[in-house]
């Protein structure tokens, strides 16, 4: 009896044999105990590999990761480092927001669209992330959260004002956009605003904590980046 090359068993397991070849191999396996034994083992090991359970670390690795990402925060290009006022750093935030005129217009439209949302109502998640930002807005939609940021970390006010200023100027244009898109972006902005609010609250309890200040900066940066990205996704209705 001529035995097939064992590679054929692998091909068969992977479903790589043509129907005729597969049938021929099946026939051989039915007749040859030696080959049948090898094939059964390979198939059993394949199943065993697929059923392997997750193996967890012997200790909790999170504290080490948490410490590293806190340290990493200072090196992450997304993070704006806090320095003494005497040496104003070149902030990635500013570099990232050098937009062309059409980009700026598009971003402005989106910011306009969501300014009412961010300032007035983002409450889909428990804890209503922006409830705290819902002060009466004679000064504009973004003024309340900018105030909170200023109070928590004065050095971040300028960044917050950039976002809030655009929100305010363009608030009336929200109706120009598809409501479903507004809903999605609104939801995500709500989440980011939740992070801003969390950081502000934490900073109230622990003023000057650099880690928390970095968190707050990252959240505001993320909000700006999200709005920028959304500017190129949103299609105005008619």
């Amino acid at each position: 009896m001529k035995h097939p090359d064992s590679r054929r068993f692998s091909d068969f397991l992977e479903g790589d044999l043509a129907p005729g070849e597969a049938k021929e191999l099946e026939k051989h396996l039915a007749e040859c105990d030696a080959c049948s034994l090898v094939f059964r083992d390979l198939r059993a090991h394949q199943q065993q590999a697929r059923d392997l359970p997750d193996r967890f670390p012997s200790r909790d690795l999170w504290p080490g990761i948490a410490a590293a990402i806190q340290e990493e925060g200072g090196q992450d290009p997304h993070v704006i480092r806090l320095h003494p006022a005497t040496s104003e750093p070149v902030r990635p935030w500013r570099r990232r927001f050098h937009l062309s005129v059409p980009q700026a217009v598009a971003a402005g439209l989106v910011l306009a669209m969501f300014s009412g949302v961010v300032g007035a109502r983002i409450d889909h998640r428990s804890g209503s992330p922006t409830e705290a930002f819902q002060e009466p807005t004679s000064q504009g939609a973004g003024s309340s959260w900018v105030g909170m940021v200023r109070e928590a970390t004065p050095g971040l006010e300028a960044m917050a004002v950039e976002v809030a200023g655009l929100e305010e100027v363009l608030a009336q244009r929200r109706g120009d956009f598809d409501p479903r898109t507004i809903e999605i972006v609104e939801k995500n902005l709500g989440i980011i605003d939740g992070a801003i609010r969390e950081s502000v609250s934490a900073l109230r309890a622990d003023p000057g904590n650099r880690f928390l200040e970095n968190n707050l900066e990252r959240a505001i940066l993320a909000k700006g980046e999200y709005l920028r990205d959304a500017a190129f996704l949103v299609i105005p209705v008619s």
């Binding site: 064992s6 590679r7 692998s10 992977e14 090898v38 083992d41 390979l42 090991h45 394949q46 065993q48 590999a49 697929r50 392997l52 359970p53 997750d54 193996r55 967890f56 670390p57 012997s58 200790r59 690795l61 999170w62 080490g64 990761i65 948490a66 590293a68 990402i69 806190q70 990493e72 925060g73 992450d76 997304h78 993070v79 998640r125 995500n188 989440i191 980011i192 939740g194 992070a195 801003i196 969390e198 950081s199 970095n214 968190n215 707050l216 900066e217 990252r218 959240a219 940066l221 993320a222 909000k223 980046e225």
Partner: protein, 175 residues
């Protein structure tokens, strides 16, 4: 810990915004699988370090996650790439600890008795590096040969050959 896709999506957005609590929840959901991958591909001595490194890398790269796939898919791919990129370093360190690379293979075979077969996981660890990595990626993690080839910088035919080699060696170890 298991999260719904919605919860996970929210945590990804929060974590990308710099929220470590949200990132910790993601870690709790996925660390078992990442650690298993590191353990099987690189060995127990490096698995915990690599797991930490994967999550630290994920934290810094979260901004590049666009949601084209699930967060888990993105994370595991990042883990595979990182572990594979560490191959040479780990190999060098391993050689310092084990001067004779083929030592295990030259040890006298165990006496064979029913029930004394090597544990399946231990058998995987005995495989040569290339065969082991392909076996884990294909059979355990479910990546296709084309993707494995791309990640490992080999061609798909080599990936298939390594897989077959791994299967036959495992059979020998486990008999």
């Amino acid at each position: 810990m298991i999260q719904s896709p919605d919860q996970e999506g929210q945590d990804v957005v929060l974590a990308a915004g710099g929220n470590p609590q949200a990132f910790e929840r993601l870690y709790r959901c996925h660390h078992g699988r990442v650690h298993s991958l590191a353990l099987r591909m690189a060995g127990v001595e490096w698995a915990e370090d690599l797991t930490q490194e994967v999550f630290i890398r994920a934290w810094t790269k979260l901004g590049t996650f666009r949601g084209d796939s699930s967060f888990g898919t993105w994370l595991y791919r990042l883990a595979v790439n990182l572990i594979l990129s560490r191959r040479q370093t780990l190999k060098r360190r391993q050689q310092r600890h084990l001067p004779d690379d083929g030592l295990l293979d030259r040890l006298p075979a165990r006496e064979r008795h029913p029930g004394m077969a090597l544990d399946f996981e231990a058998a995987i660890q005995r495989l040569p590096d290339g065969a082991k990595q392909v076996f884990v990626l294909y059979e355990v993690e479910g990546y296709p040969h084309a993707e494995i080839a791309e990640m490992m910088g080999i061609n798909a035919g080599t990936s298939k050959s390594q897989l077959h080699r791994a299967r036959m060696m495992l059979r020998e170890y486990l008999q």
